[in-house]
Symmetry: C2
Subunit: 372 residues, 2 copies
């Protein structure tokens, strides 16, 4: 027979989950109530309002999906795409590749725009792909590539798509609340995120927002959405504006408590203050890493303040270093993903983890481990 699990108290500075505050953990542990309880329905309205604030949007269909960010990505594609459609997909890291998988599993065609892992998406290549594929329905790209630590210019990419009459799908899993993300001002159509990055809530929920154009595309589909669980035509009946809150599935009630609390914390701090905090802490970390002789992998203008890709120094063992950081300092940093495995570490400064205490812990731990 086994026994209760008592997790160690880690300092989470990988690519997510980030440190979850005691305040959010406490919110998550309040008594479970029913997903159709009037009190819960009231909370749902407040969560929607707070997500609109975080996404900088007035989109009515702005909700938390009951599954992780990967399901948010899938929801975006299966709802917008129908068999035979074409989507232009930008890839400059792992998650663009996952987008391609999603497009193809919808019976649609993915036209790929490739950039080097570690570079931003090149708008000129995107413009050329749009010109060559004027009938493409969707342009999809990752705003903040979690696998490389690179920001792309979401505003410019959305403008290119809008000018061509295309819908956009924007992966904001790592960007939401960490860097500026103006869904309405930039004209993005479907934008999804995760709760375990710069919101520092429990992992497992995907905030997502749909523009009026996206909703129109979804409600006028010829084919049913291939996923029943992610079919927004059905989910709108539970989460939609003025909806009857019709039963669709059982919402993850306690995870919504946690998300609500983390969004309150964001509202109290303010979006601009959160962006400034992420930026300033990144600057402090980068300076300390430079003092240790550690080099950042991404060119300065495109660095994500919340996810710092660091070149592994010549002669240092990737896994052994991370194991020692974990064992001796309770510090989690991320490994490289995909073709960057073994070449880079990823140091997250996301949400609650973006704090001077974490920077100090991280720098002293690296100093000790790299010296030995």
């Amino acid at each position: 027979m086994s026994s209760t699990f008592y997790p160690p108290q880690r300092t989470l500075m990988g690519p997510g989950p980030s440190d979850v505050s005691a305040r959010v953990l406490a919110a998550s542990a309040r008594p479970t109530i029913g997903h159709l309880d009037p009190e819960f329905v009231g909370l749902m309205d407040d969560v929607k309002r707070l997500l609109q604030f975080a996404f900088q949007t007035r989109n009515e269909l702005t909700i938390p999906l009951s599954a992780p960010g990967s399901a948010g990505m899938e929801a975006a594609f299966v709802n917008l795409l129908e068999p035979g459609d074409t989507a232009i997909v930008c890839q400059n890291g792992v998650f663009g590749g996952r987008m391609k998988e999603n497009v193809e599993r919808c019976g649609a065609t993915a036209v790929m725009v490739q950039d080097r892992w570690g570079d931003p998406v090149d708008p000129e290549k995107v413009a050329a792909a749009i010109a060559a594929n004027p009938n493409a329905k969707v342009l999809a790209f990752v705003h903040a590539e979690t696998s490389t630590g690179v920001r792309s210019d979401a505003e410019q990419l959305c403008q290119l798509a809008k000018a061509a009459g295309m819908l956009t799908i924007v992966d904001a899993v790592t960007s939401l609340a960490g860097i500026d993300l103006q869904v309405d001002a930039w004209g993005a159509d479907v934008v999804y995120s995760g709760t375990q990055k710069c919101l520092s809530s429990l992992p497992g929920i995907a905030p997502i927002t749909f523009s009026a154009d996206a909703v129109a595309a979804i409600t006028s589909r010829t084919h049913k959405v291939q996923s029943w669980f992610l079919d927004m035509n059905l989910i709108m009946g539970y989460w939609g504006e003025g909806a009857k809150r019709a039963y669709h599935h059982t919402a993850p009630v306690n995870a919504i408590y946690a998300l609500h609390e983390s969004l309150l914390m964001l509202e109290e701090e303010g979006l601009q203050a959160s962006f400034a905090r992420h930026r300033d802490n990144h600057t402090a970390l980068a300076s300390g890493l430079a003092d240790l002789g550690l080099e950042l992998a991404v060119a300065e203008p495109w660095r994500l303040p919340q996810l710092n890709a660091v070149m592994i120094p010549e002669g240092k063992d990737d896994a052994a270093t991370r194991s020692r950081l974990l064992a001796d300092f309770n510090l989690e940093v991320g490994a490289g993903l995909g073709e960057l495995a073994g070449k880079q570490w990823r140091i997250g400064l996301m949400g609650s983890s973006s704090h001077a205490v974490n920077i100090n812990r991280c720098l002293s731990a690296f100093e000790a481990v790299l010296a030995s």
Copy 2:
């Protein structure tokens, strides 16, 4: 600006979520760690073992999916079915209809076996459907229909399918841990459940198990699984036996803590003891309801002890009664679903909610509200 949400302390006697114990809530609120942390990987192994115990199976691929029971249903269908396949689907309530939706969205054909809502699935009709559709790949049915409170004979239905060389998909969302469910002895192939019913854990996770035959069907598919998020070929890389724990998506870490704790509680009580508790408490509730003149809707041999469908007495207002139970007694009972809306209430005695205290609360609340 909004403020922290403090939920009321309900007594949850609807169709789920059920009462979550303080012990499980406390487990869920322990510090979040990474989904690839060695400590978490150890916990994953223990959760798998405990789920095998609960499902009464030695299936290696027995895991918690990172989404609610409806996603468990979808995972079963999208992994087993390919375009052009045929599935025989039994419907005697809401969830058989949802199965049909899932089959059709896979590009497969659903042959429906219909029974009256409130009756069990009729094995003779199933035998006839199997005889008429010898090339069907899958037989799918609901073990414990949450919408009607009816048990079907899962053992017999699995035997019919096995004899014809078909795979079975068994919805055990409401049955797991509440009534006997012998995955191996009955020869069921894909069986999924939810955490918010008789396990009394947080809503949002779908325990699921796959037989060796099911795994063989999945690994030898001609078409990719249409859902990337639910593709078991990929999920096996994270949860599978001897897997490298390759990153697929970020697991809902704290919800897994909660599930682990609820499974420990089940192991400590013992499966047979849990079944007996559910049975005895059902008997006590039924007796008390009879004293109040309330009639159970389901014939005695097929009643689910964990979900009691009660006929709404002539002249009593459905919504007004439930509102008073909630407002004056903090008691949640379920409304009727689908064609039973307005005709029945559903009183759950699931997991931690299956307790004498709840029965007493429920009976005195109904007595007071119905008398006025």
